[in-house]
Symmetry: C2
Subunit: 689 residues, 2 copies
């Protein structure tokens, strides 16, 4: 009898659900039930909506559903209403979004009855692709570009079209309605005829899904592509060149969305090269785009090598320009004041600009968060930013409300995410990185969503397969053994990464070698200081952290009261950004009663214990995942664990040189030696984006 039981136990473990390469994302094939759909419109977008319903209907069999364009004051923009009769919206895109919402609710077990009204938080919900014309992707960890390639660069194949359609569908299913197709470190090539024609082909595929195309334009295009003698935005020749170029673009792509501009940032050309302001530059382009309905997304990611505090620069450059931008300009601001770190306080620009639309820029690709190797669910990071209180209009002035038009009238509201998409079969390299694409779309649509719900939805859509659930392996078991632990892992994963990389407000201490491993020591001679970690952590014998208080760089004063005062005082400043704002003695007494050094050690150690626990969670879930994705994620978790330990060891052993204090005896000891870690790290020239 025992032998029989044993063989059952074992065989259970090899009953995997069928292999899955992850290519279908959260839109996996369903065994749909029949449904009757009525709609008076015949259009590409409506036909997509109808097909989606037919392919995936899990509601009452033979139910009758109508899709209707209506006028309803409860609806805004591409919002929709789901009620017992079907989906209503102001626009065809709204109908499509409503259909995806209805199907998602059916698939995830959310209520579908009653009246569901949903309006998007932002008008513009945009992916930024840092894709280069040669097909490479800056900070891309999932293969080459799906849009551009080096060989046969301008041939549009059926495979291209199929992939672009799948891409558009995935975006539409979560409400993303725009895509900047090329890198913010833009090549002037992108505005040439060949690239515009390829952009046209892409736009044609994306259009029925409600996804507009945008391009990053290089500010020096007039000289580099047009042969002009200047790029001065007030130069009539320059203005004329841009007007003609934009006219050309719209002749090719009539619904072109507009430009994303990185100017006077990290060596990129810009209006300051001609003593003009960001506003001068942005407005010139905005004026040229305005007749066509195009917009300018102008990045505020600026800093110069001689700043005493890089974190202050964007605010300092842009606040004086508040109100000076055309109304089709939106200032695109990274979530934090430095650069997509595992944790930053929110950028003070969110709580400060009152007359200019500001849009958050999140980074979906995990430049600083373990590339496509670490499992890090970024939704909690974005939620944290969106829910941060800026106090701009008093308590409750969250970043979300300061950017979505809740607190002041804005013609345009927008949000951007730097995409993590490439030619990898599963799009994102890491199967769980798909969740970040998903989460960005969901939060762009509804910036009040909780990460817990997003994770719950995504896991159900991505992993649950009714056809594989047997009686002994039923839904309840799936929820207990897979959904709940995996969800917990996802929700904890970003804090784990912060713990093992940059706890307590540390930031920008990564290896110069592609920003993957630890590198707090990296500071070659003649390297500009603000590209080296010691500029940020300021470790010395007296302590650790960047003094941004009133006695330091005074970056705290860029925040509104009472937040500024709270941050200014180390006893009220939250632990999780403490070293962002303070340089504190190694034996500073933390809120826990422990020293700063001990807390630092404890946080790093906790990070690796968390990843170790993630490994156990995933391995225990083996019976509930297809073998292909199970093993891929398992492999990556192993590498993540290894890298997490490297982070812990590298940072603690480096900082210990200054603290001269022992790692608390109850914590795991380092397993790497500092000089080995440094030796094995081969820094390349940083290419910030």
């Amino acid at each position: 009898m025992k032998k029989i039981l044993l063989s059952i136990t074992i065989s259970l473990l090899v009953i995997h659900t069928k292999a899955d390469d992850g290519h279908k994302l959260w839109l996996r094939d369903k065994k749909a039930l029949p449904v009757n759909i009525t709609c008076s419109i015949n259009s590409p977008t409506i036909n997509i909506a109808i097909n989606e319903l037919k392919q995936a209907w899990l509601g009452k069999a033979n139910a009758s559903i109508s899709l209707r364009i209506v006028k309803n004051p409860a609806l805004k923009n591409d919002g929709f209403i789901i009620n017992s009769s079907g989906v209503e919206a102001l626009t065809e895109a709204g109908i499509l979004y409503g259909v995806y919402e209805l199907l998602r609710r059916q698939q995830t077990g959310q209520i579908t009855t009653g009246i569901i009204i949903s309006n998007p938080s932002y008008n513009y919900r945009i992916l930024n692709h840092w894709d280069n014309p040669d097909g490479s992707i800056e900070r891309g960890y999932a293969g080459q570009s799906i849009f551009w390639r080096k060989e046969n660069a301008f041939t549009v194949t059926d495979n291209d079209k199929k992939l672009w359609q799948e891409y558009a569908r995935a975006n539409a299913s979560v409400g993303i309605n725009g895509a900047v197709l090329n890198n913010v470190n833009a090549s002037p090539l992108i505005l040439n005829e060949d690239y515009l024609n390829r952009t046209k082909a892409i736009a044609a595929i994306l259009r029925p899904y409600g996804v507009k195309v945008y391009l990053s334009a290089k500010f020096s295009s007039p000289m580099q592509s047009g042969g002009l003698k200047s790029n001065d935005p007030l130069d009539p020749e320059v203005i004329k060149w841009w007007n003609n170029k934009i006219k050309e673009i719209y002749s090719v792509i009539p619904d072109f969305g507009g430009f994303l501009i990185k100017a006077n940032s990290e060596g990129q050309p810009g209006p300051q090269d001609y003593n003009r302001t960001h506003a001068d530059g942005a407005n010139m382009l905005a004026d040229a785009l305005q007749p066509y309905g195009g917009i300018v997304m102008w990045r505020a990611f600026v800093y110069s090598p001689n700043d005493k505090d890089r974190a202050k620069q964007a605010y300092n450059e842009f606040m004086p320009l508040d109100g000076k931008f055309r109304d089709n300009v939106i200032i695109q601001v990274k979530n934090g004041p430095v650069d997509f770190q595992p944790r930053e306080p929110f950028s003070p620009l969110f709580g400060s600009m009152k007359k200019t639309p500001v849009m958050p820029e999140f980074q979906i690709t995990q430049e600083y968060l373990g590339h496509s190797i670490h499992l890090v669910f970024l939704s909690t990071m974005w939620e944290e930013c969106l829910q941060s209180d800026t106090y701009e209009y008093g308590k409750g002035s969250t970043v979300a409300k300061c950017t979505d038009g809740s607190l002041r009238p804005q013609k345009n509201t927008a949000i951007a995410g730097v995409a993590n998409i490439g030619l990898d079969t599963n799009w994102c390299g890491h199967d769980f990185a798909q969740a970040n694409w998903y989460a960005f779309g969901r939060l762009a649509w509804n910036n009040k969503l909780k990460s817990e719900q997003i994770a719950d939805e995504w896991i159900k859509l991505t992993f649950y397969e009714t056809q594989s659930i047997t009686s002994s392996n039923n839904k309840l078991a799936w929820e207990q053994n897979f959904l709940n632990p995996v969800k917990q892992m996802m929700l904890e994963s970003r804090e784990a990464a912060v713990n093992y990389m940059t706890p307590l407000g540390l930031h920008h201490i990564m290896s110069a070698n592609e920003h993957y491993g630890p590198g707090p020591w990296w500071a070659p001679a003649r390297m500009r200081a603000d590209w080296t970690p010691p500029y940020y952590h300021k470790a010395d014998s007296t302590g650790l952290g960047f003094n941004r208080t009133k006695s330091g760089s005074d970056a705290v004063s860029q925040y509104n009261e009472p937040l500024a005062s709270q941050l200014n005082n180390p006893n009220t400043c939250p632990d999780n950004v403490l070293l962002w704002f303070h340089h504190l003695p190694w034996n500073f007494k933390m809120k826990s009663g422990k020293t700063l050094w001990d807390e630092l050690c404890i946080h790093y150690d906790k990070g690796i214990q968390q990843v170790r626990a993630f490994q156990k969670i995933w391995d225990k879930a083996e019976a509930y995942v297809d073998k292909e994705r199970f093993e891929k994620v398992q492999r990556k978790l192993r590498s993540q664990m290894n890298n997490a330990v490297l982070w812990k060891d590298g940072c603690l052993l480096y900082f210990q040189q200054f603290s001269k204090m022992p790692i608390p005896a109850y914590l795991e000891r380092p397993v790497n030696n500092l000089d080995d870690i440094i030796k094995n790290d081969t820094p390349q020239r940083r290419r910030p984006a």
Copy 2:
């Protein structure tokens, strides 16, 4: 008040004892008390004994000590008596050993009163140096040879003499009385005049310390050095050549010890090349050495590529020759039947040869046990071998008794250890590897010693410094916080290595790349099978392990009853050699009730948990060790931990391909992927020794 307490805690941690480079080994400088020594003899050896007493006397101040050569039937060989009047012995060397014993007892707090009689377990207590004439050392991990070098190869410097003297003193202090100065894979060069003259210079330094020199001779020397047409041991020309060569050697070094021979083993030439037996070869040399009192140590480490079970070969080749060797031949047998693995059963030759002296060969250098990186105290391994019961003459016929003359009269008894000594300042690379040199000497002198006592002595001699012990940091604290935990670590360390490398009787599954990391997969095409791990572990879908039972290779029958039957049955075979003797199903039920696979996982996991605990033990001991040695050992423990995890991950993931069973959910998960481990291992051609 709290602040004051804190600073005290910290300052305690930085009060290190003074830096120590480890060069003085267990013979550190003492603050000696005055002592009056009387001795009627004036000789180099006695003068050394007197100096040692004067430099290190920690007994009663101004005590009177006499050193006397006596005839006492209680004494054998170089044994000694310590009593209230001093030290008595048959020989000057015996006096010296007695002095070292007396001083050691004073330094380690052992009793020095009453009458202490001590005779050596073996007449010949020999280090084998695998040093090549060019100064390299096969399986050496502590720098180049202290005897030979490439540049200025035949110049004897004062530094050479000083180092050789320190070496001789260290050997004498633990009773080692012989040194084979060159590699068993011998170069014929070593018997040339230049090398013999250098050997003479070494012998001159070693002689007063009672250490004789030996050489490894290449069996093909007659042809390679003498220009003869044969090496046939029965060829009169060959016999003549060896007679002349040996005559030459003794003319240079009158007390030359003899030869160590590796013949017909791993490509080395030997008598079998001429259809002669090992006995023919050994006896020819023995006859030539006999007039001078020299001996032949003839290695039984033989196996051929077409053996079905390499483990049986030595027994099969040598047992038929039992009784056919001259009485100045000793058969040198590695502790286990294969090759210095982390754990092997004892070689059955120890319990079988009745008419031929057999000497154990232990490997002090850690070829298969982590080189000079892993902290592995080998004393427990050797103790385990020495105390293994062969049942040769009934119960209690331990390997120790079968080799030391206890059970049958033997003219010569001997033991050899392959040295771990090189030009590194601390001699052995790892500070704790010194303990293995020490332990070999102590066990060679007294094969009944317990490893616990050896470790206790060594730690006290090596780390305790009266001058550094303050009132708040006293001897009791030192014992509680340093001696006891460090001793525990040492005593557990070999089992830890077995756990994370080769638990449950696994063996020879190391990387071909210098035998450091794991390599159970390594099996290139056309490589002789018995040099590849799969030959030894035989993992397949049906199970794991080498079937050496009666139904397999029947190696069990080389052991005496009742041991043979005990080993033959998987239910009575000890777990720690189970897979040595059995190929068992992955779900075989172990004595614990768990499956073989689970026990395998548990053992590998335990190994890494043990090393992790060692790291904590060592770090907690920081205040009690000089900074230099503390940090060196700390660094090595980190690397050991890393390598232990690599072993665990590599082996479990490799074997899991066959077992198809999950690593138990309560164990830590792998953090390395199998293909990465294999890729990063760059196998070189194995050069076995």
